[in-house]
Assembly symmetry: D2
Homo-oligomer: 338 residues x 4
């Protein structure tokens, strides 16, 4: 089988595994008091061109949920897209970590939230005790449909959110894919556009089991560290998490890996442009195939049907280590089926 | 001012206050061990023509949330209407009581859930650990838009829910209004149609501060009693809650009060039928008035604008003790404005 | 049977029921916008001789838990006595309302916390993320063993707590009994001694189903109102709760009822002083009776054995309406058994 | 500095890092559908000589909390030692994961729970809704004071717990150290003695960032998998967690590493037997040093003072990779100071 199920089926990038090995000797103080963990703020600060506070956690779900819980009280609500990962793929983790805050859904093609739809959704909330209060906006970059938000689009959403006293969270599980797709800087797609806290993804793009939560205002970390510990997300042997994050940035694999994954996905999209259900902007390709084509492709390829049962849509994801020959084979089949 | 803001601005029905006075002497064992509390199951069993377990709580929000928490685990989800009270008017209480279960919204006119829309929404859930699992359907009778579910409509929804392993909860804050509007029995609109647990409303229709949670399968009460205590909802002087509930049923005021409230609302609806935004089936009337008419009416009448800011819609609610002359005055004004 | 089980088996004081009746006509805006609810701050402010914010809830458990949740984060801890109501008689309500904060127990005779024991317990906590952080001290006045804290004792504890950044909560389910026992003012036993937030008990001393949470610093109410609504503790017909609270203070029954209950308890204690297990300072009497005496008394009197199974201890509680003849009978029996 | 702060300051055992490298190529299905994750049950089943269900998580805190949450409802309580890790070093994680269940503390030297103290503590709970209900016993093997429970001691505790309807959880963060210290089988110290669910520690004894939760009754896994996902503890690249666990068992490093750590600790204990505050049975040594000796040692050695502030006690922990020369140096100093 040739797999396009997800970028999280990939192996760990060799540069990262090598870095772990080089640090694997001697004592390192536990729970983040090691020198690699202590370097996180500086390394990410350089990457984002501003002062930041950075914390390692073991999964994207934990990163999103802990970030949101830091800002959204139990009686608050997080505005997010109906197809977002926090809503659909985390088994209610944001609700768990926040103590029961509500996710309030916004729709929109490409799993993107548009300003007018955000405004309309916010009109439903009133500043009284009977209803939950909007306290955070969460957007995904790149989105669960492979789309990207431009810096201007983020800014427009952030202005609305900040005007309502909400913070802006970005689920950046595939942040690198969005940056390289637009040829802008990480800063431009995050804090410069109004993002307050970022779940910075590493695992899907070459990491093993560490993601970062990045606070762009160091004064607003709040009780994050207590929440992380309390969630079993503070690794005792911190060097192995910290090194994944710093190696990812300093070695440049964040860019190299994302560029390759995007490029492979672009080839798939180009093989059957008429079948695309949404534009392919990063490393995910969505096609309206119908049941017959899905069945035909399933003999050789591993991928997920998408949307509600029987929708006929399918998703193909490329990762940093998807074999070229697997892409060749998929493109050939798609051309035949198109 | 003449008030049509809500039926919860009404006074307590004299029969209920009198009943409290008659029982107000001597010792009664605390926390539900008094003879009035112990009679709850039998009195409600007679009313519903089946064996039930009944528990008093202090508010409709508590009734709904405790009922749902008994059946829906933290990683479950409750399907409900986007305009439902549990979603919009309880400040996230269901999420609080369930430990963070998600409410998954279904739309539909009249704040009613239709079978096809329930089915379509359920298609989005998959039986894996990544997503929350549907465990309860919550419908409101009569709805937040004054509509009623027929027994057949409830049955259709319940069949879908039960087929997915979900229980059916009914928010019956205005259950009496729905029963008298349809001239059916309480049993026909509840357990006979597939309802598993009912939040039975008393306060809006003449009570003071007690509602009931009614379990139609006595074997499925689960940990409700622990949850109630833990929520501070187990009254120590139980007689005063129990008597409100039993007097409400046994004196017949449940019917008399609901009939009067519905009748007054029907008069309002008939005064300007062309302005109705949804049919007026019980004691709530919704009209599309526009900003000017709303401003004009607001000088004399207290009522709520409805829907998102600037919608131009308004709600008028009649209670058991709304003065006839207030209805007369409103009808006159509406005829003038129509 | 003659009952000494608890003061919550008593009826409602006639003054309170009468007050409810006088207000039982016409419209009153819901959810605390009625004029009686709006008078709460002023009436309690006068009683406590300072500016306060006051909120009605339906039970003492709710009062305690909501007060603590306002100040103690999920990763915090509440220092309290091992025999306190919040620890032993609320089924984990403080943990539920705080989102999982821990209660950390202190021992001491009479269910009283002494300064040295509080200090020793606090020595166990360290200011790092591995352990929960002390954020509140909760003391009960009068205690679960019928003892009272003097103003000086409260001040000593409050100084320790405030010095550690903790707030001081007082569970005043029987606050009136403590005030009249010491012949001091309510202010002296609360904010003047360092109490920040008080669960002010009414039910046990003549109320029906309303207690008050009193914030002595109006700027520190925080998110209490959202939490109350979310817990189903915001009564829609607010007048009936507010009137219980204001009538209780303004009619003077708080003092008259507490004095009577204390006086009756003193008679019981005096009947068999050699059997007392702790001094009887308010309306509760604890005696070391042994199994035989307990069995003998149980034929005529209802009361609770106390402590762990088989301890041989028993509790007798007097209320505002305990019949004199019941006290006579109990005293006679105790004299015989002593 | 020579470090004896904790066994979690150690590096990763080379066998484990090598195993990760050998599996680091090609696609592996995400979220535990890889072949290494699928082998967990069988590998652990062989190790424990019985059928088991095994789940990887990222930390011991997560392992303990998820295991307890599977069995203990929010209104339940976990009996544990006052010095246990779940009580003192997890920032309230058990309360968070269980939805607010209470930990009820038992004391005893060596951080061990004795049968008589467990029985006495259980006497305080009554089967009514006012108090939390005992649902789990959690013991630590080896304990936070380096002591071990014998199989017979575990059995005695388990019999009491099971007789009350409680399950038995073992925090086995240092399980291997307890097994090799007693020369018994893993089965004898776990399910054969009555343990229902085990937090199986790997990290402290050579792992990187994976621990296992082991259910000895495969039918009682309950909703564990939903809870794990919801907590952000389901690794997407599952092979790297699974391989740590299986390599640890199959390579025999569990035994080799634990034996070495215990042996080094025994040398330290033997260097100053008169200073021992509790017997040194595994890889932790506790000594009553006093402030002066602590200050003297702190110039060359890293270790933790223990107990409340100013207790004068200190802890020394050896790990699989503590240098022999560091132990030599510490022993020499201790002999001088003794």
């Amino acid at each position: 089988m040739r797999y396009f199920k997800s970028d999280n089926t990939a192996a760990v990038c060799p540069e990262i595994l090598a870095a772990l090995a080089t640090a694997n000797h001697g004592t390192a103080l536990a729970y983040g008091a090691d020198r690699w963990s202590e370097a996180l703020d500086a390394v990410f600060g350089k990457f984002f061109e501003t002062e930041v506070r950075v914390f390692a956690v073991s999964s994207g779900t934990a990163a999103n949920s802990l970030a949101l819980a830091t800002f959204c009280p139990p009686w608050g609500t997080v505005l997010c897209h109906a197809e977002s990962h926090v809503e659909r793929d985390e088994c209610g983790a944001p609700e768990f970590f926040t103590g029961g805050a509500k996710l309030s859904l916004v729709s929109g093609t490409g799993a993107k939230i548009r300003a007018e739809e955000l405004r309309a959704r916010l009109d439903w909330f009133e500043p009284h005790v009977h209803g939950v209060q909007p306290r955070a906006l969460s957007i995904t970059q790149s989105t669960e449909r492979g789309a990207v938000y431009t810096a201007a689009e983020i800014r427009a959403l952030a202005d609305i959110a900040h005007g309502r006293g909400m913070i802006v969270h970005m689920d950046g599980a595939r942040f690198a894919n969005a940056v390289v797709a637009q040829d802008v800087s990480p800063a431009e797609l995050s804090w410069k556009a109004g993002v307050d806290v970022l779940s910075f993804g590493v695992i899907k793009n070459g990491g093993m089991n560490a993601e970062a939560v990045v606070f762009f205002d160091p004064t607003r970390v709040g009780d994050f560290e207590f929440r992380r510990k309390r969630a079993g997300q503070l690794a005792c042997k911190g060097r192995y998490a910290a090194l994944q994050l710093t190696t990812y940035l300093e070695s440049g694999i964040w860019r190299r890996n994302a560029e390759r994954a995007n490029r492979l996905a672009a080839r798939i999209a180009a093989a059957a442009p008429g079948l695309l259900s949404v534009p392919a902007e990063t490393n995910q390709v969505f096609m309206q195939l119908g049941a017959q084509r899905i069945a035909a492709l399933s003999r050789e390829f591993g991928f997920y049907p998408w949307g509600p049962t029987g929708s006929g849509e399918a998703r193909f994801v490329c990762s940093w280590d998807t074999p070229d020959e697997d892409v060749d084979a998929l493109c050939a089949q798609l051309r035949t089926l198109a």
